[in-house]
Symmetry: C2
Subunit: 256 residues, 2 copies
DNA sequence: CCTTGACCTTGACCCTACGTCAGGGTCGCA
DNA sequence: TGCGACCCTGACGTAGGGTCAAGGTCAAGG
């Protein structure tokens, strides 16, 4: 007769695993000797080897129980089922590999490459890191909600940077993030921005922020701006005095 | 400000997962409103999306915590590490697939194909299923301990079956399993068996059960025989009276 | 006879990444 | 004011065991 550790070593499993299989009902509890030790016969070794064979093949223990007593057809059906699961798990991990391969550090975490390129261009233009961080966060949010539109958005943004006047204005906006909340220059910026908006109206921004972008998302993006730039609140106040509101999605305040 | 379910839906995770990340320290606990509800800002959405991005890439949460604050080099090192783990898991599952592909029902569970072929031959020879079951269990044990020698053992066994005299004797042995414990014919079988053993001596069985097979294993295999055939004990007793012992590995009892 | 080391017992907590109650408080709307 | 949808904490469950803890047992050697 065998002790539990002898049994375990024949099947190359741990003693703990054997007890686990007892608890799970995979392996019947054997007789005990007078001191309460489990005593096994050779048949238990055979059973245990079968259990390990299935478990080593990736069969979950809950199914091992069925399979040990299953007939031929059930068995082959179950095997097919398990093979499907394994294939799915392999595919999942292959996708994981592809994803982590994309994950360099920094911006590219949670952003598609075209967005990373855009952020890098902002960086090359010498814009302050604080503003770029705000942009990055905003685009992370957009990329999470509307991944299929990121390519389009990024193309639009890149085109804006190609226009010298817009770029110049962008630089001035960037300056703004360091201003105190009561800086008087905000009024001038507000004027210029409204000038831009009214010159561009009405069709130029077409498709830029259409139906896809829900009001909720727009509000969330606005709050990113409001939270990351101290003077943002003042600026938006200026805009509202001039008949405009919003930031992510400017719109004329309807006259009442 | 966002509620927990709004936050969760922006990052496409469950509310439970968000709380889990709080508990794990991945996402800082936000301010509470006066009724104790968590209130989030847009930055929390960004953080949560980053967490999901890493987790979706197969990064364990314990490492996500490090990676969120890691610099460029640590990050790429960690990514390489995770990729290694993923590759290992994929390989593991591919091995599992190969193994379960081998697992038809019945005998082949835990046995190599040549052993299955041997058992099938016994079946074709019309030997009783009870005896074949005993053989199968014995070979499962051997295959688990000495997988590299199975091919050789099976070749030997097949050769034995090719010899008409041995085969005939095999059939008679097979009959035996139905006998009562006090059947007088056991003596005759004992005589014939000893005849075989002494005729075959000493070199014919060479390499069949050599050093590889430990005494422990031999004893285990003997016990399979003793447990599965009622009259086995009587037969071995007969053998001992004639100067032989064992079953798996017959040996002459040294004269004292 | 005693010690020592190896083995055995049960019970309980640990891991991942959350899911799923249970029991109770809160919000917004009709 | 009542209802459904939301929020809170706390606790238990998952798969497959690992790892103590606290104690009983066994065999060998001094």
């Amino acid at each position: 007769m065998l002790t539990i550790s002898q049994l375990a070593s024949y099947a190359d499993v741990t003693v703990r695993a054997v007890r686990h299989y007892h608890a799970k009902g995979l392996l019947p509890e054997p007789e005990r000797d007078r001191s309460g030790y489990r005593r096994y016969d050779a048949h238990a070794v055979v059973q245990l080897i079968k259990i390990r064979t299935l478990a080593d093949a990736g069969v979950p223990l809950s199914r091992v129980r069925e399979l040990l007593t299953a007939g031929e057809e059930e068995f082959t059906a179950a095997v097919a089922d398990i093979d499907r699961r394994l294939r799915a798990e392999i595919r999942e991990r292959q996708r994981h590999r592809e994803r982590i391969a994309q994950l360099a550090a920094g911006d590219s975490l949670a952003l598609p490459p075209e967005a990373v390129a855009y952020l890098n261009r902002l960086r090359e233009l010498g814009l302050p890191e604080l503003l770029i961080g705000g942009e990055r966060d905003a685009w992370i949010l957009v990329a999470a909600q509307l991944p299929q539109h990121m390519a389009f958005y990024m193309k639009m943004k890149q085109q804006q940077l190609d226009d010298p006047a817009t770029l110049e204005f962008y630089r001035d906006l960037a300056e703004m993030i360091h201003w105190e909340a009561d800086d008087p220059r905000v009024a001038a910026i507000g004027d210029r921005l409204v000038g831009f908006l009214e010159a561009a109206e009405p069709e130029e921004w077409d498709g830029y922020h259409e139906d896809q972008m829900t009001d909720d998302l727009v509000q969330l993006l606005d709050s990113v701006f409001l939270d990351s730039v101290p003077i943002a609140r003042r600026l938006m106040q200026q805009l509202e005095e001039r008949g405009w509101r919003g930031w992510t999605k400017f719109e004329r305040i309807p006259e009442k």
